[in-house]
Symmetry: C2
Subunit: 358 residues, 2 copies
């Protein structure tokens, strides 16, 4: 397979803390419902899974934000729940309610039945990666991703989103052995899944530990971080003669920044509650930082967006050997006016280019 | 007014970091829906507001958990939204949906109309405090409480609970002057409200900054912490010849522990993501700590509850001059089996008494 080589590698260089001319930016959920063209494609696809499982549609929506905005990376359009879906849990997206599993994991028998799925069942994802790489034609790097073992485990047990995680935490405090067994399987599946994405052409990968932050101190280390580390350690880190950087994002994880930095990842994603400058002092030069504008800033006027962008860049501090990838602290809201993103991207590039020149 | 004097002051002493024979415990939302007798009283009252606005009912449910469990403090049964209700926003509790305001604060005109309410409109709260004090007959201290200016502001603008705080954050990033104006009024109202509770007999007060943790680093300091500090600084701190300790609880606030400790409060509440030992090292002996068991632990078996209780107590570390009040990291879940609370309270008392004797 002959994949086009990269024209803009600023994002990859920043993740590896190599010199860059400006701070690169991409946005979590950048291919999403705030874009009318996304909603149009989704309507054609009929459903979320119809979109995610069709490589042409997945490619189309992945590229949409790049046509509008001067972003420095593309991210595969997919979902973290493709893995448990391939395990046979029966994923469905209920309108207005989000994801739901037909067969959640609720007891010992359910856990015993779990196995690492055949990666052939996820071929649609890897085909999308290859197609997107070809269509990107080297414009910017393509990010692959997966949920952390704990985060997909939350959905597998709860069966859907939750506001208290009562079912998985009940299991965790009653039968920790079952939860560990599920997380071991999730970790092995996630290693294989991300390595297949890398094999197919993903140039960086991100692990979304979206729900690690709901755990108690102590439980986070045991049930989330330990398995995220297993995934990081199992990944292929070089491909096409380049390093493939790994980003770990734990929502609400700033309290545990030093431990997350020790998983072996190249970069750590942070939400808006963190001070990039403070975390940088804690983790030193071990990892790059990605983040962390509050997505709600994009509901302010142009001047406020630009001022908040500068605060984040200033908080990160002197660019030195880089190591900052600008992003939102969480996914972009579906209600965001697309023009706000224009101001965001422009300010990140303009302001940071000035700082890098200094 | 001649109020009964205290028989058990372990809770107050721990808040003031004075020697105690064991670690005291109470639970956020201890008078609540997990108790069948609460649901019975609520059914008689007809509605949540019917319960909160009737001093006999409020007194009855405040005392219910003390009949069942050996708790070291009572907390006034009320709601943080009584203050905006008194401002004329029209609070209602919609079944299955939680609180809702008929007249939320959405624009400049709405903000201009806001004023500090006449405390006479909140007389039902102060009467409940006095009645509960008499009925408690000095068994344990009574805690009064209020929401932080930011937290009640979130509800005032959103009109109800929110998962992204889009309306108040949009206003905050577009018209920070309006949000500051609202927060100034909320702070002044909260000072008066808590001082009236203290005047009526509250022996400690707690400020719930339940939504401070949704703010970005920087915005938290400007829009939440600054006004919490104003409230703390405005409070009457002595009554009936005793200090009236002030507890500040910011959900998700452990990242900012040092700054919260500097508000002038006597104690800081922490959720389960914090390590009490780590926070204690950060804040030294400036404040006592309250927390921080994950309420979901109460869905585990007896042995797991006891083991997790010991972890929290061990994490706090050597008792020295005390300074630990045991609590959950957030309100108790309505689905909690009451017997789990028995194990919790017993283990806190038994295990900590051994540690205090050493």
């Amino acid at each position: 397979m002959n994949l086009p080589s990269l024209k803009n590698d600023v994002f990859l260089r920043a993740l590896l803390r190599q010199p860059v001319p400006y701070t690169p930016i991409w946005m979590m959920r950048q291919a999403g419902r705030y874009l009318p063209e996304y909603n149009e494609t989704r309507a054609r696809a009929g459903s979320f899974m119809g979109l995610a499982q069709n490589r042409e549609y997945a490619c189309e929506v992945t590229l949409q934000p790049l046509h509008r905005f001067d972003l420095d990376a593309a991210i595969l359009f997919s979902d973290i729940l493709t893995v448990p879906h391939a395990m046979g849990l029966g994923l469905d997206f209920v309108a207005g309610e989000g994801p739901r599993f037909a067969h959640p994991v609720r007891n010992e028998e359910d856990v015993r039945k779990l196995t690492v799925p055949d990666m052939g069942k996820l071929e649609y994802v890897f085909e999308a990666v290859s197609l997107i790489r070809r269509e990107l034609d080297g414009k910017v790097p393509l990010i692959g991703f997966a949920g952390s073992p704990w985060t997909i485990g939350c959905y597998m047990v709860e069966g859907k989103g939750s506001d208290d995680y009562r079912l998985i935490k009940s299991m965790m405090y009653s039968r920790p052995d079952l939860v560990h067994q599920m997380l071991r399987i999730n970790a092995e599946a996630t290693v294989q899944y991300l390595n297949c994405q890398i094999q197919a052409g993903a140039q960086a990968v991100m692990i979304f530990d979206s729900w690690g932050g709901v755990l108690a101190h102590g439980a986070f280390q045991e049930f989330s971080l330990a398995y995220t580390r297993q995934v990081v350690q199992g990944l292929v880190r070089e491909r096409e003669g380049r390093q493939v950087p790994v980003i770990v994002f734990t929502k609400g994880g700033a309290l545990w920044a030093e431990q997350i930095a020790e998983t072996g990842c190249d970069a750590m994603g942070l939400d808006w509650t963190a001070s990039l400058g403070k975390v940088r002092k804690q983790v030193g030069d071990r990892v790059a930082l990605q983040g962390n504008l509050d997505p709600m800033v994009l509901f302010g006027p142009d001047a406020a967006i630009r001022s908040e962008v500068r605060k984040v860049i200033d908080d990160f501090g002197p660019v030195g050997n880089g190591g900052h990838v600008f992003n939102l602290g969480h996914g972009i809201s579906r209600f965001t006016p697309p023009d706000a993103v224009k101001a965001l991207v422009d300010e990140v590039h303009t302001y940071s280019r000035r700082m890098h020149a200094e």
